[in-house]
Symmetry: C2
Subunit: 190 residues, 2 copies
């Protein structure tokens, strides 16, 4: 998605440790117009998939998921990172390792909101090692829900998570794939 | 907002401890059509306020904030609940006590995304004791940003947070105010 790549080139800030900060438009401050265009692009890419639900993990996936679900006319469900008094039903539970936070955490999703009748589009802002996506796939498996596809805004191709998911047969659509950030220069995959 | 009250009456589940679960449409599973209507309503209520930014706290405020910001054509910035490798700039920092989680936590917002040039609409899904809103107000004060208003989807009126904010002069617009849940019966404020 050329609009997105231009934006990453212009506003992305490359940091030590293979980290790219895109928090001026994607995951801290959010450019709603850009996310609308991203939502439209996912609609184009997954239009024939009869999606019934968009799922993501809190927090930074929620904005992309909501502005994508608009175009499919389906609800969003986001996996929650911690327990609260407000969780009382039966839940699916899985463990995710965060690359940026450097630790494991449990996410939960109430069983009533994902069932074997669902055809799911998994959405997230970043795909690096793919741990968040694997967590959501595990929840879909527990629910018996079909996974129609995985939509990612920015894939860090050099970390391999996206290609591993593709090899296992998933339709992973990343709108920008960064194959290298060597010498702080961005190389996008064609 | 009648559409919202009807939805709360139909799908809200009242739990012990003055808790109402609205997670089938507002803060776990998200009904995008309803949130679009909510966004439109905030646009109507704050139309003349020259809003430059919508701010909220992760995670459950993000969906409402995004689907509201669409109508104002402004960005969203959400305060983050924890530090990660991806935070490196100067940040505003404040402490919030969570009613549902029963503990204090720190939220941060990068200084570059909120300045004294901003006129802010604070958005959240629930207002109970008002602690989350006070945290965001503190961040706005640190930034020197003007607060044009506070938009809340559901206010638990009997917990007093909304009225305390109104008494200090803030324009708090809650789309449904629950004044009582005694005997598991909802009483909305007129």
């Amino acid at each position: 998605m050329e609009l997105l790549k231009e934006r990453i080139r212009r506003d992305g800030r490359i940091k030590d440790g293979n980290i790219i900060k895109v928090d001026s438009f994607l995951n801290h401050q959010i450019d709603i117009d850009l996310l609308n265009e991203i939502g439209k692009e996912y609609k184009r890419l997954f239009n024939k998939e009869n999606i019934t639900k968009v799922i993501t993990i809190e927090a930074s996936g929620i904005a992309v998921a909501c502005l994508t679900a608009r175009y499919f006319n389906v609800p969003v469900v986001f996996a929650k990172k911690s327990e609260s008094k407000n969780i009382d039903g039966d839940v699916y539970r899985t463990t995710v390792t965060s690359y940026t936070r450097g630790k494991d955490y449990t996410v939960i999703l109430e069983k009533r909101y994902l069932t074997s009748n669902d055809r799911v589009l998994i959405i997230d802002d970043i795909l690096a090692t793919g741990k968040a996506q694997l967590g959501l796939l595990d929840i879909c498996k527990q629910a018996g829900a079909a996974v129609a596809g995985i939509g990612v805004v920015i894939e860090k191709g050099f970390q391999g998570g996206g290609d591993r998911l593709r090899k296992t047969g998933y339709n992973v659509q990343s709108l920008a794939i960064i194959d290298s950030m060597e010498n702080k220069t961005l190389q996008f995959r064609e």
